[in-house]
Amino acid sequence: MNPSRRKFVKTALAGGLAAALPLSALKMLSPAEAHASIGNDKVRWAFVVDTEKCVGCGLCVKACKLENEVPYDAPVTRTWVERYVITRDGKSHIDTPKGGRDGFTSPKIRDEVIPADEITQAFFVPKLCNQCSNPACVQVCPVGATFQTDDGVVLVDRSWCIGCGYCIMACPYGVRFFHPVYKTAEKCTFCYHRISKGLKTACVQACPFGARQIGNLKDPSDPVTKIIMTQRVAVLKSEYGTKPQVYYIGFDERVR
């Protein structure tokens, strides 16, 4: 081989390596990470549900469906209310007819009336997206159509979602579904269009008993933050490591 050519190859290799080293020392940021690093870090939305106050009227579900244009009679919903009836034998009887939209006006649970003297406990548990800090749904989206905002809310881009359903499968809470009209993954957004303008979510506004509250975790004077800091609260299914941000007062281990 021509010695000058060998020298050239050697120098080129060494130069290439030298150039690559400092490049690899830099961290590559994804657009989302870059945006998050300069974004708004003063807000982290969180939710408190006081199950002691919920009476199962279903106004929250109604309000949500109307506000967020989820077809009213379709059996899917962004938020719902579950009824728990615990009997003497320790069994839980759980139901949520139409997501609790029309309230729980009948004592029947799946065509079965439980005698009043058999009941030891009965309560309602409203459910909605937990806007997890470590959302499994965002992790599994193959196209990045679902994402987490700087203030902690998980949203879906309807123009980019391919409708594979992987996020629906990945959510341990069953809050996701396909929108019957748009055919894309759909979920509770904490009414992002409202809270980002300083309004309350539709369900919070509709609740006559103050069972639902939304607030900013990063603001120590926010009533929601105060509750989470000072009271005994629990989250749903913490074993999945998703770090849910909907906190429950009056939680029971039988809640699913």
Partner: protein
């Protein structure tokens, strides 16, 4: 009421006891077909590689066929996903903005890498044939022949050198590609298992064994399908020879002999992969029962009550045990082989079914169940796509494609 009809999953999900309102069987028959088809692709390729890489001479007869067949199966691994997507035209988004924390995001990349490997390997195997065809067709008159010649000219990619050293390079190319292809094929399928195994919300799916189980059963199904198709084609050839020359003719006997030889030898590989697959599946089952985590109660009631027939009778019994015995009995016959192979294919299909549908048979609340009623007669596009006929379309596609490809690259003649 009209709004209710377009809720995805409503048509085929029957809920029992307490199920969250948004829970339906979102992943239905097409998601059963998807790992089944990718499994067949991977298995067919691994079978051909056993010959090309490890020089398993006994597989020579089936290696070329299974390579071409894996190319025919390739597009059909994507088909069920397209059928399943709510927005099929956006499927390409996976290539535009792959979100790499998702197991599905790698699909486009792994899949196209694999497709390129298979196609290049076929090119190396058939290059000499392309050149020969091009030369043979040179002086043939007629538009059809010239069009064919143009096609073969294009397929040679301009490499007309068929000297000994050039062919030796071809051979080396095949070997290298087949060697790279094995891990890629396993990856292609292993990650299909990862798609399920990594869903922590699903108590039945979440298991680190899932990818390995998927690879093993993929190889089993791939080998079985290759053997079965091989038998059918050889039987057809035998029939043709019998019709032309009579039953006792030497060529008919020869075909029969070759066929039996290839099949018995390949069945040994099938058996060993079958043993591996069953052992892993049983390990997974036993481990779940022994550790008895929170989800075991609901899993047990699904496995031993609702899905008992599907899992223990159809999958393990008919799909594993019976063919295992049939393959082990000495003095194999073609009829018994066909029965065993059909049962093996059915068993792997039932395994996919029990994973995909079985994983959605219980509510995330662990307080209720969902039953899948597969749409048979379609009454809308959705019930066609996610019903029996959609699945049959997917199942029939590789044979149609193979028929087309085999016209250009004959995988069953000695060349």
């Amino acid at each position: 009421m009209t709004e209710q009809l377009i809720v995805h999953g409503l048509d085929w999900t029957v809920k029992d006891l307490f199920v969250y309102p948004n829970e339906f069987i979102y992943w239905s028959i097409q998601i059963v077909m998807y790992p089944y088809m990718t499994g067949l692709v991977a298995g067919a390729f691994v079978l051909s590689s056993l010959y090309h890489v490890f020089g398993q001479k006994d597989l020579q007869g089936i290696a070329r066929f299974s390579l071409v067949f894996s190319l025919a199966l390739l597009p059909t691994a994507m088909l069920p996903l397209e059928f399943h997507l709510q927005h099929p035209f956006r499927g390409i988004n996976v290539m535009f903005t792959p979100h790499f924390t998702s197991a599905i995001a790698a699909f486009g990349i792994v899949f196209s890498t694999y497709a390129m490997i298979v196609m290049s390997e076929i090119w190396f195997v058939y290059r000499r044939y392309f050149v020969e065809q091009s030369i043979a067709l040179r002086d043939q008159p007629g538009f059809g022949n010239q069009a064919k010649r143009l096609l073969y000219n294009l397929l040679t990619l301009g490499a007309f050198d068929v000297s000994e050293p050039a062919l030796a390079i071809d051979k080396k190319g095949v070997k290298i590609l087949a060697a790279i292809g094995i891990p890629v094929a396993c990856f292609l399928h292993g990650y299909a298992g990862f798609i399920f195994g990594s869903v922590k919300a699903n108590a039945l799916w979440m298991s680190p064994l899932m990818p390995v189980i998927f690879i093993m059963s993929a190889v089993v199904s791939g080998i079985a399908l290759c053997m079965l198709t091989y038998i059918i084609i050889m039987e057809y050839k035998k029939l043709q020879a019998t019709l032309a020359k009579g039953r006792g003719d030497e060529s008919v006997k020869e075909l029969g002999g070759v066929e039996m030889d290839v099949i018995t030898k390949t069945s040994r590989y099938l058996l060993s992969f079958l043993v591996a697959a069953i052992s892993l599946e049983l390990l997974d089952l036993i481990f779940r029962g022994y550790t008895a985590m929170k989800s075991w109660d609901i899993l047990r009631s699904v496995m031993f009550h609702d899905d008992f027939i599907n899992i223990f009778i159809l999958q393990y019994g008919c799909g594993n045990l019976i063919p295992f015995i049939l393959l082990l009995i000495p003095r194999p016959s073609i009829k018994r082989m066909i029965l065993a192979l059909v049962l093996v294919l059915f068993g792997v299909f039932m395994m996919r079914w029990n994973v995909v549908i079985g994983g959605q048979a219980f509510s995330l609340s662990f307080e209720g169940f969902m039953h899948y009623k597969m749409p048979i007669i379609p009454h809308s596009l959705e019930t066609y796509k996610e019903g029996l006929f959609g699945a049959l379309t997917v199942a029939a596609a590789p044979f149609l494609i193979f028929w087309g490809i085999n016209k250009i690259v004959p995988s069953l003649q000695k060349i």
